[in-house]
């Protein structure tokens, strides 16, 4: 499995011991983020706009008013699910680039469940069925790459990329040829009836005195938050999580310990695919009330950035997904306010975050280690340096 064992945690652990946790998990990610934003600012300058103005609009657009907050949370819900999906695979040493495709196919599950039930039952009956269907469809789409990695050693990065494209072709075919009502101009299913509309959280926010207007944030947010907790428990508090981490860090040692990397690879990818699949609930049953072409709109890839920024930890992922939610919502407002800045700016920022928090994660670390070393010089050495036998 050497090929797949290139997931970030393996990288990140190299010299982790040399820095205390608060630098490692808070200061360093912030430094990476700052670098990403600095470069983004330069790009904004490059097209002749004022980056500070842009930041102001971005913040106002995402947090400045109720509807903005609602949208921010709506997007964050998507990213939380896909981020968790990427993170679970990371812990097993797997790089699941296929979140996009898994969410897309998960949407098929949601769509079918909704189409089958929406006319007959209330939403709270459709809801669990749709969650289960999303998870099953998403997991199924992850199964083949997982099996190929585990059994035949096919590089999972490549197979999941291929499966994203295959998913896209499959979904277009299904929507265009089978699911779209005759005469419709758009390849999308009919609009669901009330039985497949998830409750929006407007009422809840109103209790807090916040008017979120038309923002589609809905109860999927709670599903995502619950998923954060469950993933935390899974990874750090269960036997399965222990086995997943063991395989992720050192598959040879895992075999020695009687853990089957084949089984863990498949199980971890199934969980990952299921999490990605559940993401589909949010736009389909919470916003559009129909299954559309390309509804995932890159959320599967944002999950990569979110997982890297959040250091594959649910708390980090929750925070990072809110940050990306802000970028998406604030970015829309920004595009609206400053015509020369298009929404693509957030794709640029996303790329820079992945670059600095992922590929260049070691760029600032030596500096921090040196700085921290200077700072602590003369004090008692940290426990990590205590002499051995």
């Amino acid at each position: 499995m050497t090929g797949a064992q290139v997931a970030p945690p393996a990288n990140a652990r190299r010299r982790r011991a040399s820095l205390p946790g608060w630098i490692e998990y808070a200061v360093l990610p912030l430094a990476n983020l700052l670098a990403a934003f600095l470069v983004s600012g330069l790009v904004v300058l490059f097209v002749g706009e004022n980056p500070f103005e842009a930041v102001k609009i971005l913040l106002w657009g995402s947090l400045g008013f109720g509807e903005g907050i609602g949208f921010t949370l709506f997007y964050a819900t998507n990213f939380m699910m896909t981020g968790l999906a990427v993170a679970v695979a990371f812990h097993a040493g797997l790089f699941n680039i296929g979140g996009e495709g898994q969410a897309y196919v998960g949407g098929l599950g949601v769509g079918l469940a909704a189409l089958a039930l929406d006319r007959y039952v209330p939403w709270w009956v459709t809801f669990p069925v749709a969650v289960a269907a999303a998870a099953v469809f998403g997991a199924a789409w992850a199964l083949i790459p997982a099996w190929l990695q585990a059994r035949r050693g096919s590089h999972i990065v490549i197979t999941t990329i291929m499966f994203n494209f295959i998913a896209s072709a499959l979904m277009v075919w299904l929507l265009v040829d089978h699911l779209t009502p005759a005469g419709s101009m758009q390849p999308e299913t009919r609009t669901f009836e009330a039985g497949a509309h998830l409750p929006e959280l407007g009422g809840l926010f109103a209790l807090l005195g916040l008017e979120i207007g038309g923002a589609p944030v809905n109860i999927t947010l709670f599903v995502a938050l619950a998923a954060c907790v469950l993933v935390y428990v899974l990874i750090w508090r269960t036997r399965l999580g222990y086995e997943i981490r063991a395989v992720g860090f050192n598959p040879t040692a895992a075999v020695y310990a009687g853990i089957s990397p084949v089984r863990i690879t498949i199980v971890a990818m199934l969980i990952s695919g299921a999490l990605a699949g559940i993401m589909a609930l949010n736009p389909i049953m919470g916003e559009q009330y129909r299954l559309q072409i390309d509804f995932v709109a890159g959320a599967g890839f944002v999950g990569i950035a979110v997982a890297l920024m959040g250091r594959a930890h649910p708390v980090g992922i929750a925070l990072a997904s809110i940050l990306f939610g802000m970028l998406y919502q604030g970015g829309a407002e920004l595009a609206f306010e400053i015509p020369a800045i298009s929404r693509d700016m957030i794709v640029v920022i996303q790329g820079l975050v992945i670059l600095f928090a992922g590929a260049l994660e070691n760029m600032f670390r030596p500096g921090f280690i040196r700085g921290y070393g200077l700072f602590t010089e003369g004090r008692a050495p940290p426990a990590a340096r205590a002499e051995g036998s």
Binding site: F95, H155, I158, L352, A359, N362
Partner: protein
């Protein structure tokens, strides 16, 4: 299908496979040196945009090509810095580059030209025009040989011929030159190269830069040769098809040509096959043809048709001192 249509489909396959050939060869240099590159797509896109923008502004195809190469090499250097100098995760870096390219091309295109991310239509001088070979018109009506010469061989733009020639050139570089020997070696065992007194870093940088050059040409082909301007997301997954072709070809130059022509043929057939039904199979959905290269690659990766073993040191940063 009669003979003439076959020729025409093949002609179209050639046109469609050119960007794949260039990008797959680009990947060959990089991955043979041990640097995985899933950012072919992004570099190609950046190349296409820069070429389209410069071609439109300067009205010169050469200027466009130069800009395309420059932009692509720029991103290649980012990848090189992240994965060679900083020893970062090559996959993550590739993903980042794809995002950067997708975002920047659309963002700049939108800001500069206000056409929904497109660049302006190119004047004739801003494009590579097709070259008619001597005698093409004369022999056109000669049976068999005529159409082959006039349609298939003649009448492409210079980048098409460049791409085809790049295949034997790459073969020669990889197997017949010192650089090629070292390139192959560093992808298998960088420590062996290092102890032989060769700089692993510089060798890999060169490979990645060459990868950038080829991707830049591939992108330029899309925007200033095959069509007359850049369109948002113009590569539409071609970089990944090229990657698939590279794997399919097991990282070897001649098979790369074969795989790319095959994938180009699938595309050409898919374009022409709309609604047409095949005898015995019935109507083949276009989407099926579009997915076929990916499906084939997965099957190959699964080891059901041969086995694709990547360069041994691929994807692993070379770390001398821990």
């Amino acid at each position: 299908m009669d003979f003439h249509s076959v020729i025409l489909v093949l002609d179209s396959s050639v046109r469609l496979s050119v960007p794949l050939i260039l990008a797959a060869l680009a990947g060959l240099y990089s991955e043979r040196s041990g640097i995985f590159d899933i950012g072919l797509e992004g570099k190609m896109l950046a190349g296409a945009f820069a070429a389209g923008a410069a071609g439109a502004l300067a009205g010169s195809a050469i200027a466009g090509l130069a800009a395309g190469i420059l932009a692509s090499v720029g991103l290649a250097l980012v990848h090189a810095y992240a994965s060679i100098t900083q020893r970062g995760n090559q996959i993550v870096s590739g993903v980042a580059i794809n995002f950067l390219a997708a975002g920047l091309t659309a963002f700049l295109g939108y800001a500069w030209f206000s056409r929904g991310g497109q660049t302006p239509q190119l004047p004739a001088s801003g494009r590579f025009q097709s070259l008619t070979w001597p005698g093409a018109e004369v022999v056109r009506d000669v049976p068999v040989v005529g159409p082959i010469y006039a349609e298939l061989i003649s009448g492409h733009n210079i980048l098409v011929y460049l791409a085809i020639l790049a295949v034997p050139f790459t073969w020669w570089v990889v197997y017949r030159t010192r650089f090629g020997l070292r390139l192959r070696a560093v992808g298998e065992n960088p420590a062996a190269v290092d102890t032989a007194g060769i700089s692993v870093v510089w060798l890999r940088y060169r490979a990645v830069i060459i990868c950038g050059v080829f991707c830049g040409i591939a992108g330029s082909y899309l925007s200033i040769a095959q069509s007359a301007g850049f369109v948002r997301d113009m590569t539409a997954g071609k970089g990944f098809i090229a990657l698939a072709a590279l794997i399919f070809a097991k990282w070897r130059p001649w098979p790369v040509l074969g795989a790319c022509l095959l994938f180009g043929l699938l595309d050409a057939v898919a374009i022409r096959l709309q609604g047409a039904s095949l005898p015995g199979i019935g109507e083949v959905p276009v989407q099926f043809m579009q997915a076929l290269p990916y499906v084939l690659t997965v099957i190959l990766l699964a080891g059901f048709i041969g086995r694709a073993v990547p360069p041994k040191a691929g994807g692993i940063p070379y770390v001398k001192e821990r």
